[in-house]
């Protein structure tokens, strides 16, 4: 087990980073989780992104197709369920980035609208 001894002031001051909390700046260290955090990106309605990891079972559209909002465009099998993916908006399909049998993680871009 670790020995109890005072922290060396020199060690404390190594590699400090700045953290701004409500306008005041503090010198401190970052933990792994904070260093690895992702910046938030505004969701884009023109992009259809997988909400769950799984396998593509049906692709019902192709580039250039005109679809209406809520039209069935893909079937994504995940957790032993066939999940229907609906069009998020009415419009023209710009690109289809998946094909039947593709396995993908959550957050994969599958279809783009124009």
């Amino acid at each position: 087990m670790k020995e109890n001894k005072p922290t060396d002031a020199h060690d404390v001051l190594q590699g400090l980073k700045e953290l701004n909390i409500q306008g005041d700046v503090y010198y401190t260290t970052f933990n792994r989780k904070f260093s690895n955090r992702q910046n938030w990106i505004k969701p884009d309605k023109k992009q259809v992104i997988s909400f769950i990891p799984g396998t593509i079972r049906q692709v019902l559209i192709k580039p250039g197709d005109i679809v209406k909002a809520e039209d069935k465009i893909l079937v994504l099998e995940a957790m032993k369920m066939m999940n229907t993916i609906h069009a998020p908006m009415s419009g023209k399909i710009k690109s289809v980035l998946v094909s039947v049998g593709d396995r993908m993680p959550k957050g994969t871009l599958m279809v783009e609208f124009e």
Partner: protein
């Protein structure tokens, strides 16, 4: 003569069971760097104190050719013994017997010793080393897990429950440790996950090793599922023994008192905290400057390190320390540190351990990730835990105590019994820069030299509010004290709080923001 023969037969039977899954399986276990279940129990308990029960239990499974299989002890060893003279109940899953898989009789042995520990009001230690449910026993295995979880819940807050993960602990099995008070893990040996690398690969196509998915380091740094990390099994057992020295055997008692010892001379409490509130220091040095023998037993050291929790003694009496750590993320409260603090406060409250809170934080961590991760409901857990706790609550404000963070960290308003502050304390709605920018926005923007005006207003704000005396003038702080007075004043506070009793409104239970 017949009796002698029968006794010989008994010894023979015992010997067979003690060999668990047989020599080959034991060799395999040891080749993995793991001790056998029996040796683990013997290493943890006082010499010659272990008494085993249910040695000759056999499974009753008939399907899938199971009838032909003899599984000694059905893959688990249960019994009672002592650690440093204190009685405990213990079970250890035996990986050499059918991979320590949990069948009906295996679970009945565990629940038998659990029932015993709850009835006798002694700590329960569970050593987990199991491949999971025994598939051949079907729904009986699931029933077994359910019976264990139910008892974990009943025993929660009545007796200390300790889980030691010394092998795989996967699927449903993980929920028993998760329901217990303290989880111990060992590097390269502990593996905990709901779904393993194989399933993840099949379903998601993601490849990850068991170690990276649910190894000891992952659970002690990233998930917070583990409370103590050790590099090997003997170290882990030492940690368990040390933990047990700090806590009482059950919730009717107080922890055993040790003889009083002063902090070591190496800790100069007046020289640890820098005056400049933007500069960091290690708050554990302050704890060690206050606690007996400068001994601080930290819990969840590597997870949410922006808040420090653990046990120390004050004149021989166990206290729980909850402290902001300016060295990591400036000591902010966030989702993880709120969870960490709240659970520990409830632990101390359940087991009659006074809580000492050391405050130095700039507030809550800003960020979309925090807001979307639910920092509102997680942060609320600290408020709930402090408000509800009826053990003595003593708070020392070392430096910054801004905004919501001030309220959350054991403030008078959540019924701290005593609130002390060092002369360096700053109790305010926010830091001087931020506050000046808001309060004097008009003056600053309309000034000929805005930067000069801003500096001046920051200085004014600092002089007026960056001190403990505004809060002291309202009675929110009981005493402003010099750092050197801290230990003695805390000892006095603990002494006069010895018979503390509070009455709370009658209720079945509250609805904490889980």
């Amino acid at each position: 003569m017949a009796l002698k023969k029968q006794i010989q037969e008994l010894h023979k039977r015992r010997e067979e069971v003690r060999m668990g899954g047989g020599e080959k399986a034991i060799e395999k276990q040891e080749a993995m760097g793991k001790m056998t279940a029996r040796n683990r129990i013997l290493a943890l308990l006082d010499t010659d104190s272990f008494q085993e029960y249910d040695m000759f239990v056999q499974h009753e499974a008939r399907d899938f050719d199971m009838a032909k299989k003899v599984l000694h002890g059905d893959g688990v060893i249960i019994g009672t013994g002592t650690i440093s003279g204190q009685p405990v109940c213990i079970f250890a899953q035996d990986f050499t017997v059918a991979g320590g898989s949990l069948g009906l009789m295996h679970s009945r042995k565990i629940t038998k010793i659990m029932d015993h520990s709850l009835k006798m009001k002694v700590p329960l230690i569970g050593i987990n080393d199991s491949g999971g449910a025994r598939i051949q026993e079907g729904v009986n295995s699931l029933a077994g897990y359910g019976e264990i979880f139910f008892r974990n819940t009943l025993a929660s807050g009545v007796i200390p429950q300790i889980s030691v993960i010394l092998g795989p602990c996967a699927g449903g099995a993980v929920y028993s440790p998760a329901l217990t008070d303290f989880v111990f893990v060992v590097e390269n040996i502990s593996k905990m996950f709901i779904t393993g690398p194989e399933v993840i690969k099949t379903v998601l196509g993601e490849e990850i090793s068991m170690e990276d998915l649910g190894g000891a380091r992952v659970h002690s740094e990233i998930t917070g599922n583990a409370h103590f990390f050790a590099e090997n099994e003997p170290d882990c057992f030492d940690q368990i023994k040390k933990l047990l020295s700090y806590i009482p055997a059950n919730n009717d008692r107080k922890a055993a008192k040790c003889s009083a010892k002063p902090p070591r001379a190496g800790y100069k409490i007046g020289e640890i905290v820098p005056d400049d509130p933007s500069q960091p220091y290690d708050v554990r040095d302050v704890i060690r400057a206050i606690a007996d023998e400068s001994d601080f037993f930290e819990i969840q050291e590597n997870w949410a390190a922006n808040l420090v929790i653990g046990f120390g003694r004050m004149n021989g009496e166990t206290c729980g320390f909850v402290c902001n750590q300016p060295l990591v993320l400036a000591g902010v409260l966030d989702v993880d540190s709120s969870d960490k603090a709240a659970r520990f406060i409830r632990y101390c409250d359940a087991f009659n351990i006074p809580i000492i809170t050391l405050v130095d934080l700039p507030g809550y961590l800003p960020g979309v990730d925090q807001e979307h991760a639910g920092v509102i409901r997680h942060g609320a857990k600290i408020l709930y835990a402090y408000s509800e706790a009826s053990v003595p609550k003593l708070t020392v404000i070392l430096r910054k105590a801004y905004g919501g963070g001030y309220i959350a960290m054991g403030s008078r308003h959540l019924r701290a019994d005593f609130v002390f502050a060092w002369p360096t304390a700053e109790v305010a709605v926010m830091g001087p820069e931020g506050a000046a920018n808001i309060i004097f926005r008009k003056e600053i923007t309309e000034a000929e030299n805005p930067e000069e005006m801003r500096q001046q207003k920051v200085k004014e704000y600092k002089e007026k509010f960056a001190n403990p005396y505004v809060a002291a003038s309202r009675g929110y702080i009981d005493s402003v004290i010099a750092p050197e007075e801290t230990r003695n004043i805390l000892l006095h506070a603990i002494e006069v709080s010895g018979e503390k009793a509070v009455s709370l409104p009658r209720k079945k239970h509250g609805i904490p923001p889980f």
